[in-house]
């Protein structure tokens, strides 16, 4: 027989799932069928269509996974057409704290450094925008009560409105933002003792109408004091990102910032080296203005991941002052590309944490009988 009948050509669901189980998620180290990523599988004679539901829209290997799925299913006998839709459902790493629970928020990321002036706010904002560009729902809480810089960096001056006792965050560049800078005039200092800081941060976390968010980034102030303790004792932090510049003077504080999170048992997502080298616009030669290799050294010493180095680019500062983050202002620049990769890596780290069931910390309570 040279021609098979149409029926014997029928593609079975089992056969499709079997070949798809050969596609592995490189971060979670399991196949996409076992991970439950394959959804809405439909077979219409030779046409196969299905969704691949990833754990983040910022998945760095989204395109590779899609290509692999198509290739595997196309290889099946009888398949004429394959349609794969890549979707995402960001899973929560547990945002329930015993003091503060933010119900609609799935992951809380603290961005900290120990030292001031290393570009925490710049990194936090651009990372937030890069995550939002992938389709994720993102919020940014500026926890620097004394020196809030986020409002200027996003070019927002409006006062947040209050709605039925809840504060509506300012929405800019696709992200929901809350900052002390929205509440006090630019030239007026906030002169407060620690307990007031605690009160303000608690309000920002609980009274702001964050709604449904995949990622809430907290731009931490420098140091290891009141704000850091408040956030780590009361807020359900999923993981911390440490920003440093390459030189020892910055590393010495960044190590302390990292140790603080280790002491309070917050998982470290990784280290980001900011201001790592300057590429001359004329000759393309790289000058390591603040020395080089510091971030890598620190990550190695402390046994955490180095998630990337962000070079100096005058357009970063320009974007900060003008209120347009470089990821949006110059999306094709090297720096913007690095931020987009960083967004994927951070999202992947959180997915890995989520997949390790113990990564989801649950607050415990016991009443003695």
């Amino acid at each position: 027989m040279f021609f098979k009948s149409k029926d014997s050509n029928k593609v079975s669901e089992g056969a499709v799932l079997k070949v798809l189980s050969e596609v592995h998620d490189p971060d979670l180290h399991r196949d996409i069928v076992a991970l439950g990523f394959v959804k809405n599988l439909k077979i219409d004679s030779g046409r196969v269509s299905f969704d691949v539901e990833l754990t983040t829209p910022a998945c760095p290997v989204k395109d590779q996974l899609k290509a692999q799925c198509i290739e595997k299913v196309k290889g099946l006998e009888g398949v004429t057409d394959v349609e794969v839709r890549m979707t995402a459902n960001v899973r929560s790493t547990g945002t329930q704290g015993n003091r503060i629970t933010i119900p609609g928020v799935r992951n809380v990321i603290a961005v900290a450094s120990g030292k001031g002036g290393v570009g925490k706010s710049t990194v936090t904002l651009n990372l937030a925008v890069a995550l939002a560009e992938t389709g994720a729902r993102v919020g940014l809480l500026d926890a620097d009560i004394y020196g809030p810089s986020i409002p200027l960096m996003i070019g927002a001056k409006e006062k947040p409105v209050t709605n039925a006792g809840r504060i509506e965050p300012v929405v800019k560049n696709g992200i929901k933002v809350m900052s002390m800078g929205f509440l006090v005039p630019e030239n007026q200092p906030v002169v407060w003792r620690g307990p007031m800081i605690h009160g303000a941060l608690t309000q920002f976390l609980t009274q702001v109408n964050w709604g449904e968010l995949d990622y809430l980034l907290i731009d931490m102030p420098p140091g290891t004091g009141d704000a850091q303790l408040s956030i780590s004792q009361s807020a359900p932090v999923s993981g911390a990102l440490i920003v440093t510049t390459p030189q020892e003077v910055s590393l010495i504080d960044a190590r302390k910032g990292l140790r603080m999170f280790q002491n309070v048992k917050v998982p470290i997502l990784g280290v980001v080296e900011n201001m790592s080298g300057f590429m001359c616009g004329h000759c393309n030669q790289i000058t390591s203005i603040f020395r080089s290799g510091g971030g890598e050294k620190m990550a190695h010493e402390m046994g955490v991941s180095l998630l990337g180095g962000i070079p100096l680019d005058p357009r970063v500062a320009e974007g900060g002052d003008k209120g347009t983050p470089i990821v949006l202002g110059y999306p094709d620049s090297e720096v913007a590309k690095i931020y987009k990769k960083l967004a994927g890596d951070v999202a992947a780290q959180l997915s890995v944490l989520q997949a390790q069931s113990i990564g989801q910390f649950k607050p415990l309570s016991l009443e003695w009988q």
């Binding site: 932090v237 309070v264 048992k265 997502l269 890995v352 309570s365 009443e367 003695w368």
Partner: protein, 110 residues
């Protein structure tokens, strides 16, 4: 690179009138006489903030002291309300784990 998961309890259990059990995320099960936890409190009322010298006198702690309620603090510690009214102590998971009274931990210490 894999993320190192910090030490965390997965369950708190009352094992007897004065026995507390803590299960950890590395599979270990700890057991404690609750009074020993109270005697090792490191709060500023029980230990001098600067010299770290113990201020608390063991014989001032009732023999029949019991916890009333305990809650985790952030991801790193346990806060306990005690029957003698003391509640300022924050017992870190690390400290609690090092004070485990289970047989194998005790043998390692001796």
């Amino acid at each position: 690179m894999a993320i190192k998961l910090p030490l965390a309890p997965t369950a708190l259990k009352q094992l007897g009138v004065n026995l507390l059990g803590i299960s950890w995320n590395d599979g270990h099960d700890s057991v404690y006489h609750v009074r020993n936890i109270r005697l090792n409190c490191r709060c500023a009322n029980c230990v001098d903030e600067w010299t770290r010298e113990k201020i608390l006198k063991d014989d001032q702690v009732p023999k029949d002291i019991r916890p009333q309620k305990m809650d985790t603090v952030g991801r790193y510690a346990l806060q306990i309300d005690w029957s003698d009214g003391h509640n300022t102590g924050i017992f870190t998971f690390e400290q609690l784990r090092s004070q485990c009274e289970c047989e194998s931990c005790q043998q390692k210490k001796n």
